[in-house]
Every structure is written in structure tokens, then in C-alpha cells.
């Protein structure tokens, strides 16, 4: 497969590209979903081809074809260069690339059980059993369960001499219980909203132990229908770790994308409230806020060996003791900003141009625990599992809804609350962080559905997090 990537690069260079790289990608996925003990969907999808990127002047040109022949790959390279050249009609400053080590190597996701070798019947049996256990709870209307697996092989070649192959294996799934009331629905999910996803094999699914949690989420969904509503006001909020992971994704992960900071995503995803002159000095949050982007964490969904520009996976400090110190970058954006490349550029399959994506952007553990936070809170709310999310295009003004909450009074977890929401402004919110859970509660949460770019791309990102407490948060916003 390296030969096709090489042919594509040569085609682009022959057509005038000053730099070119190409990826041959073969990707398989398998998904099973179950509703009320019926397997409602079982799909197996595969796609493959070569995508080539050519740089001329201020623009990338990109062309993809599924035709894996020398001639088609070479023609794809020429198309990419021609497209880049057409950009000169509306041109800007020439784009440069930062230097990265040139590698010829192979990397593979550590995994023990090939998820595609596990019989479909076994996977279906698991989902039906889990769904049955949820549905056995009186009042549950919809009992859902699903698993999804990806197996991706990539071969990367650049005009600077890179030849890197990778085999990435990802597995995940989850389940949910929905109780339908007269005027509203209530949902509880496990392990998190939309399921949990990791790099690894079928061992990931076995570790979830979904059957052990099925009855609980069913009972909670039904109980929520008659629980009191989350009150409106300002109070202390403790976030369960998967909700805190999404908070990190939205209010930190996207804000630190250098392409957004540079305005490249302005029309669609938006920009960022962060400005490069403030890198190294701006206060992002409290001193307990330590964020890293670490693509080397074993098992986390955003882990890999090399990004799609051939830059080695690395750990980068993003926020250190509350101060903003790092960004997510690629070779072109880093060159503009005068920063070293972060190795954070990935494309969605062979047919999408690589762009800056989160790796594993997470909050490092602190020295507290959920129990300790609750015991230390006189008046507050503990919220768990995401239900809705929204943030403005500068990543400042956010509002999240969670599936469930509990009142905290005098250090004790009290009654259940339905429809909890909280809202805030990013730096103020993170500035109110005063407790972070420890390593024992630190989970590498995965987000398999991060949308970005035009044409649209879906990214797989990781977000290590433990529970955290935030002081003086506005809660209970209603429509």
C-alpha cells in the first residue's frame, strides 16, 4: 500500500506541489444496536482508498479516490495540485511547515481480543440480555444497547521521506433506559451518554460489565419522571467524571485548537476566545486546573503512534496550575504561531483532509474524591451523565443538561432531581474549580462523535477526568 501513497505524492510533486503527503486508509466498522430485546440494526461498513494533500502557495489542495492503482493514485496527486493551484485566484500568505523527524516505522494499538473475531451471535446475545434486564424494570419504555468497533489500517508517505504504517483498533458501546411520561422523557445511560469508547479490542466491552448496571439505570430513569425539578439559582456543583470530560471537550479542547485560534474555522465551528499573545500568561482556571493533551495514554480513544502528518504522538501541557500554556497544532498552524508541532492532525478516513483534532485532552487528577467533595459541601448539586450540550463559537458561553442530579445538603447526598442544567462562562467557571478527584476515580472517557470541518469530519477524542467541584454555578435554566 505504501506504493500507492508514494505514487500519489509523486503525482502531486510532478504537477508542481512544493510539498505533498498521502495516506492509504482501509477502515472497517461493525455496529449492532438493540431496542427492547430486538436487534434493530446490524451493519458492517468498510471504506478504503488514497487521499493526497498538495501544498502550493497559501492553500492545500486535496483529492481522494478509492481506486487503488498506480495510475489512479498518481492522477489523484495531480488533481490535488491542480486544485491547490486554483486557490491562487483568492490567495494569501505562503504556508510553511515546521520541521518534524522523518520516520519509517509501524505502530499498532495494544489490544488482546480482536473485536471482529468475536462472533456476531455473542455480541447480539449480550445486547439482548442487557436490554431484557433494563426492560424488566416496570415503567421503562425503551431499553437500548449497542456496540461499535473500528479497525483502521493506514499507510502514510510524505515528500520529505516519511513512510509510516499504523493499525488502530477501537471498541465501545453502552446502554440506556428511557421512561416516557405524559409531557417529558427521562433517560439514563451507562457507562456514559452514547456509550464509552476506547482504543483496544473486545476486552473493552467485557470490562464495562453492562449487565451489572442494567437494573439500576432502568430504576433511575423511571424515578426521574416523578423527581422534583432541579431548582433555579446559583449553587455549588459537583460534576461526575464523564460530564466533566465533556465540559473539558467543549470549553477547553475546542478552544485550544490552533486552527480555530487562527480563524480557519471561523465560518462554521467558530473561533476561540484565546489569543496567541496571551499564551503563557492568561489565567484559564484555578490552580487545581492542570490540562494535558496526551496522545500516548494506553487505551484512551485519542491515542495513536503518529498523527496524519507523520508527527510522533506526544504529551503537551495545555493548562498548568490554571495558566494557559499550550495549544493543539499541526505543522502548518504551528509554523504560523512559531510553536513546535503538536502532532495533533488527523483525517476522518482516506477521503477527508487531515486537520487539527483533539488527542486525549484531559484534566489531571487531584487529591480529593467524590465522597470527600460531597461531605465537604453544605449546599449544592451533584450532576451526572450528559444529556445536552451547547457552547458559543468562541467557546465561552456554555450550557449543559445532565441526565440526573442529586441535592447535597450538609455534606449528604439527598433527593434525586430531574432535568438538571448548568450554565457559565469558560474562564470564570474553571476559575471556580476547588476540588478534583484523585487517580482512583480518573477515567479515560472517549468521545466518538466530534464533528468539525467542511466537508464534515467525525473525530475520535479522549478526555481523562475525575469528578470535580465548582463553586457558585448558575443551575436550573429552563425553557
Amino acid at each position: 500500500m505504501f506504493d500507492y501513497a508514494q505514487a500519489a505524492v509523486e503525482g502531486a510533486l510532478a504537477a508542481g506541489a512544493t510539498y505533498a503527503d498521502a495516506r492509504v486508509v482501509l477502515r472497517r466498522s461493525q455496529r449492532l444496536s438493540c431496542l427492547n430485546q430486538q436487534i434493530e440494526a446490524m451493519s458492517q461498513d468498510e471504506d478504503g482508498g488514497v487521499g493526497v494533500r498538495a501544498l502550493i502557495g497559501s492553500s492545500w489542495g486535496f483529492f481522494a479516490t478509492q481506486d487503488l492503482t498506480d495510475a489512479a493514485a498518481r492522477a489523484a496527486g495531480q488533481h490535488a495540485a491542480d486544485i491547490a493551484r486554483a486557490s491562487a485566484i483568492v490567495s494569501g500568505p505562503p504556508l510553511r511547515l515546521t520541521d518534524v523527524p522523518v520516520n519509517e516505522t509501524h505502530w499498532e494499538t495494544p489490544h488482546t481480543e480482536d473485536p471482529f473475531a468475536v462472533p456476531l451471535s455473542g455480541k447480539a446475545d449480550l445486547l439482548v440480555a442487557v436490554s431484557a434486564a433494563i426492560q424488566a424494570v416496570k415503567g421503562v419504555s425503551l431499553a437500548r444497547a449497542n456496540v461499535t468497533f473500528w479497525d483502521t489500517n493506514k499507510w502514510f508517505v510524505s515528500s520529505q521521506g516519511h513512510r509510516i504504517s499504523q493499525h488502530v483498533v477501537e471498541s465501545g458501546g453502552g446502554m440506556s433506559a428511557t421512561a416516557v411520561g405524559e409531557d417529558e422523557t427521562q433517560v439514563r445511560s451507562y457507562p456514559q451518554s452514547f456509550g464509552q469508547f476506547e482504543t483496544g479490542g473486545y476486552e473493552v466491552i467485557r470490562r464495562f460489565d453492562m449487565p451489572a448496571h442494567a437494573t439500576r439505570i432502568g430504576e433511575e430513569a423511571v424515578a426521574l419522571l416523578t423527581a422534583p425539578a432541579c431548582p433555579a439559582g446559583t449553587t455549588d456543583v459537583i460534576l461526575e467524571s464523564s460530564q466533566l470530560a465533556l465540559q473539558i471537550h467543549e470549553s477547553v479542547g475546542h478552544a485550544i485548537e490552533l486552527d480555530r485560534i487562527l480563524g480557519w474555522e471561523a465560518a462554521y465551528a467558530g473561533t476561540s476566545f484565546l489569543e496567541l499573545p496571551n499564551l503563557g500568561s492568561m489565567r484559564y482556571g484555578s490552580e487545581l486546573m492542570n490540562i494535558t493533551a496526551d496522545a500516548t495514554l494506553p487505551g484512551a480513544l485519542g491515542s495513536f503512534g503518529y498523527d496524519d502528518e507523520g508527527t510522533p504522538a506526544q504529551r503537551v501541557d495545555i493548562v498548568k496550575e490554571g495558566t494557559w500554556v499550550g495549544v493543539l497544532s499541526g505543522r502548518d498552524s504551528a509554523a504560523i504561531a512559531g510553536l513546535p508541532p503538536g502532532g495533533m492532525v488527523r483525517g476522518d478516513g482516506y477521503n477527508r483532509m487531515p486537520m487539527v483534532r483533539m488527542t486525549n485532552v484531559g484534566l489531571l487528577p487531584g487529591d480529593s474524591s467524590l465522597d470527600e467533595m460531597i461531605a465537604d459541601t453544605d449546599d449544592g448539586i451533584y450532576m451526572a451523565t450528559n444529556r445536552s450540550w451547547s457552547i458559543d463559537d468562541k467557546r465561552l458561553n456554555f450550557q449543559f443538561g445532565c441526565q440526573i442530579a442529586w441535592e447535597i445538603k450538609n455534606g449528604k447526598r439527598g433527593r434525586m432531581l430531574r432535568n438538571p442544567t448548568y450554565t457559565g462562562i469558560t474562564p470564570q467557571f474553571w476559575g471556580s474549580l476547588d476540588r478534583v478527584g484523585g487517580e482512583a476515580e480518573w477515567v479515560f472517557w472517549g468521545t466518538p462523535n466530534c464533528g468539525k470541518g467542511q466537508p464534515g469530519q467525525v473525530g475520535h477524542t479522549g478526555h481523562p477526568a475525575s469528578p470535580g467541584r465548582f463553586r457558585g454555578v448558575r443551575v436550573g435554566v429552563k425553557g
Partner: protein, 443 residues
Amino acid sequence: MSVADDLCARAIELVDGRAEAQATASAGRSSLTRFANSFIHQNVAEDRASLGLTVVVDGRLASASTTSIDDDGIRRFVDATIEAARLRPVDADWPGLSGPAAMPSVDHYDEATAVASPTERAAIVKAFVDAGGELKAAGYCATSNRDYGYANTAGHTASGRDTIATFEGIHQLVPGVSAGLATDASVRLADLDGAAAGAHAAATARAAADPVELEPGDYEVVLQPECVATLLVFLGFDSFNAKAHLEGESCIQLGAVQFDPSVAIWDDVLDGRAVGIGYDAEGTPKRRVDLVTEGVSVGLAHDRRTARKAGTESTGHAIPGGESWGAFPQNLFMAGGDASVDDLIAGVERGLLVSELNYCRILDTKTMVATGLTRNGTFLIENGAVTKPIRGLRFTQSFLGALGPGNVRALGAARYAASNEEEVLHVPSAHLGRWHFTGGAKG
């Protein structure tokens, strides 16, 4: 025979009587020219042909797709899909294959758009950028052309083709603070007017200079068509979706007055202004489906699976993967009037003109309460005229209630507009009596 038709025929032949089967295929080129900071920075294209296959063996169903379309690839793909079907439980809801049926005459296709070059897209981008002068421009211009095929073992075949050209651009006076938006879409690239879009977006951006904070609360609003498009995208996916309705998660109550009497919403790929093809992923012919008539909820989007459960006919809205997601309308129209946006503004004593609703998410599909933000031009209206620009506001508002009885004061002229969710709909601007804003720049 097109590439797509050929792929379907080869797949069905290789099934060779081992299963009930349906094949779908598409083939064509998609291209997108993207610009930011007033120059083209990402310019992409792909040629892609893909084959989808659903097989049913003794009531056991499996679906699959591939881009591996040489003879060996398709043979391996067909065999693997049949083998997968044998390993799963019986699908009690399998509705069977669609039989041969007459297809509507739909050909939303333009040859010039099908072969549009990156130079032609760049020329539209240049016209948009130039219209903004010193303003910072960002956006994209895209074209695509595709052939589609369908075939099944019940002897039904169908073919189609389409082209679509879309444009979306913003001009920014101060990025993230003062900006203006313009969108357009058509079957024909020649219909897109970069200069006019640029002039509109630039005028909005300049008018949005030095925005002020406004206290959140309930306000009358005039929504530009892009905002109304966003409302309908969510209502289409979550509410007029027959699967969601059957499962109790939709807000729609058929026969009930849930919308203002002035509201009419329908889905119709047969309309000459529409984009797309004349049949769905199950080979069912599409037809006009009324969803809301004079404020009454009257219809849902069905595929064969939901239609069987509901005891009705498929409306031709099946999508790949519909077993999980259900069927939903994809060619939505909402009736408008003759009024211009300025006419609507003239009818507002105190309210807001909103250009775009961004990052909307539904809190509960049963109520369709959503939260999101305004962007790319929000203005205060006082005594029938725009008086000052406003910083972006957060809202928490039911999209159903927004169009509810008594809340629609007036509707403007309808046109194609791109929603913030990347769908293109033919919708009007709207003057609504109440919109619930819950936050601003301070939270």
C-alpha cells in the same frame, strides 16, 4: 447504465437466490472550496462510488456498505453480508422488499454544475471576498454530482441523479463579535451570486459594529430564514420522524393544533425548486407529504418498517441506517408570505432581529426545548426599525412552541437557506411573538 446502476445489478446477481436482498449505490464527485481570513486555504475534492446491501436470510437481516467495488471486492462483500445475517436473531419487524413501482419524474441535475471546476468555485469565492472590502471573510463554496441506483430481488429497480451547489460565507468586522452571514443553494452553480451574498454579509457585519449587551428575557423576534431552517431541521429529525413517534419520543400529536394557523410545512422532492432524487433507500417513490396544514399536525415521515407498524404506507423517506434512526423528511418546505424582512421588522415594537441560531441542542424531544446561541448578526428592533447591534445571546426555547398557536405574528417570503446543521431548506423569515433568551456574554 450508470456506475451506480451497474453496482446494484452486480450485487443482486451475486446474491444468486441465497437471500432476499436490496442494493443501493451512488457514484460521483464532491468538491468544496473553503476560505478563511479572506483567502482560500483548503480546497478539496473526491471521486467516490459506494455500494450498500441489505440481505435477509430466513428473517435474519444484515446491512453493509463498501467502497471496494471491483469484482472480487463485491463478491467477498456479498458473501460476508449473507454470512453475517445468518448469525443474528430473526428480525421480527422486517417489512419485506418494495415491489416494482412507477417512479416520479425527478431530475434535479445540471450538467455545468456536475463538471464545475475549482476555478469556477474560486470565482464565486472571490466575488464574495471582494464585496467585503477590508472585512475578513470565511466560508465555502461546494458542488457535487451523483448518480444513484437501486435494485432488489423482488425485481424492483430505480435510478436517479442530482447536482447541488451550496455557498455559505461570513464577513467579519471583529471576528466572533461583529459579523454577517449569507447562504445560498441551488441545483445550478450558476444560480449562486457571490457578489450579492458578499454585499449582504458585509452590510450585516458593518451594521453589527460595537454591539451592546442586552438583558436576557422574553423578546419578540424576527428570524431570518437560516434560523427557521434550523428549527425545521430539528423538528424534522426528532418530531416528524415516525419511529420517534411510535416510540413515544416525538412531540407530534397527529390531528392536534400544535402550530400557529399560518404554519404549513411539507416535504416534496417533486417541487421544481427542490434538490435530491425521486426515491428513498428502500426504493419507495417519493411524493409530497404534508406535515402541518393550517397549524394542525397531519403527517409523519415513514419508511417501510414504521409504516408496517403504524398500519400505513411508506412515504418514501427511508435512509441508510433507518432501522436505528427512523425516517425523516429531507426536502422540507415551509410556506411563506409576500413580506420582506424589513416589512416584518416594521411590525415589531421592541424585539430582536436574529440572523443565525448556532450550536442548538434539544434538551427533551418530547417538549423540543432547545438551547443555543445567536450569532453573525443580532440586532435590537425598536418601533419598527433596527436601532443597534446586540452581542450574541443564549436561548432556552421550545422549537415547537416557537411556531405554536398565536406565536407567529407574520411570515416573510420563503427562499432556500442553509441551517446551521448543514441542511438546506426552503423556508421563510418569521416574526414570532416570544422567544426565551436565558443568557448573554456574562453567562
